[in-house]
């Protein structure tokens, strides 16, 4: 596997085989972000294709000031958000989030209530896009707070605030769920 620098330069020289390698290397990252943010699963592939086409078109602007994964995640995040906005599915951050009722008992969640993992995944799906984003980038893609700030444009303190509140909500719901299960 060629290193990041070599790969980018080969792509910039017009080598599509190298771009194929680049897509293979980062497809999981892009799909993870898009699948978490978009509720309609059919849109995920279209958005992911759009992301890599943008990556190819703008790769010349990548100056190696951050990791390539951060730059690609930024494109994936903004493409998914734009898609949500275009389809009027984007909601601003709800100020009353602590009072929001996260349902753990919808017919869908009952059907998937096989284990804790699915239960938590169902809860995350109901959370505001800001929470879904930081949880995904921090826990699944292992980005730091500074990198999440670069990707999303939220200040580092806000990223931390969203992450801590999201985890607290999830922990409380998970505790309730596990207690119900035991009973």
């Amino acid at each position: 596997m060629p290193d990041e620098y070599e790969l980018v330069h080969k792509v910039l020289e017009g080598d599509l085989y190298s771009f194929n390698l680049l897509v293979k290397q980062y497809e999981k990252l892009v799909f993870t972000v898009a699948a978490r943010l978009l509720s309609n699963k059919e849109d995920v592939e279209d958005v992911c294709q759009e992301v890599f086409i943008k990556v190819h078109r703008h790769l010349g602007k990548f100056m190696f000031q951050s990791k390539l994964s951060t730059w690609i995640a930024k494109i994936a995040y903004s493409s998914a958000i734009n898609h949500l906005k275009k389809n009027r599915q984007y909601d601003e951050y709800p100020e009353d989030i602590d009072e929001k009722h996260f349902s753990g008992e919808t017919p869908e969640s009952l059907a998937i209530k096989k284990d804790k993992e699915n239960y938590v995944a169902g809860l995350i799906a109901q959370m505001p896009v800001q929470y879904k984003t930081v949880l995904t980038l921090y826990h699944l893609n292992e980005f730091s707070y500074a990198e999440i700030e670069e990707i999303t444009g939220y200040p580092e303190g806000t990223v931390k605030g969203y992450l801590f509140r999201a985890r607290k909500l999830l922990k409380e719901m998970l505790e309730k769920y596990l207690n119900t299960e035991i009973i």
Partner: protein, 133 residues
């Protein structure tokens, strides 16, 4: 309460190990819940990446690149043909370039109409080809 939640999350983020003595019973419970949650959050969800996804992306990029190249080539060809059509009467009739230019200027709207017709045919053909693909 919030401070306890925040502290536990912060310490877990730093990967710090706890000794039993430094935590109260409530804190131990909280820590166990958060540890469980962290483990769940770090589990990769089952994401289905379509088969041959990189190849699909590359073929789209190749198609766009080819279309750009084709437009550039055809534009060059159109300029060459226009130049040839302009010089043809000069070669055949032996008239001066100025005289031919004057004749062309007199019928310029016909030339513009023909050019527009060609462009319309070219782009409609291109759009149809794109849609079929």
């Amino acid at each position: 309460m919030n401070t306890m939640n925040d502290n536990i999350q912060e310490l877990l983020e730093r990967g710090r190990a706890f000794t039993a003595e430094e935590l109260s019973d409530r804190e131990k419970e909280e820590l166990a819940s958060y540890k469980q949650l962290f483990a769940i959050l770090e589990q990769e969800p089952a994401i289905q990446i379509p088969r041959h996804f990189p190849e699909k992306v590359v073929s789209k990029i190749r198609a766009k690149r080819d279309a750009k190249r084709e437009i550039l080539l055809n534009s060059l060809l159109a300029i060459l043909i226009s130049g040839f059509l302009f010089y043809l009467p000069v070669i055949i009739t032996g008239s001066s370039i100025r005289a031919v230019a004057a004749t062309f200027l007199a019928y310029k709207w016909i030339a513009v109409f023909i050019a527009l017709l060609f462009m319309l045919t070219y782009f409609t053909g291109g759009i149809l080809k794109h849609r079929k693909a």
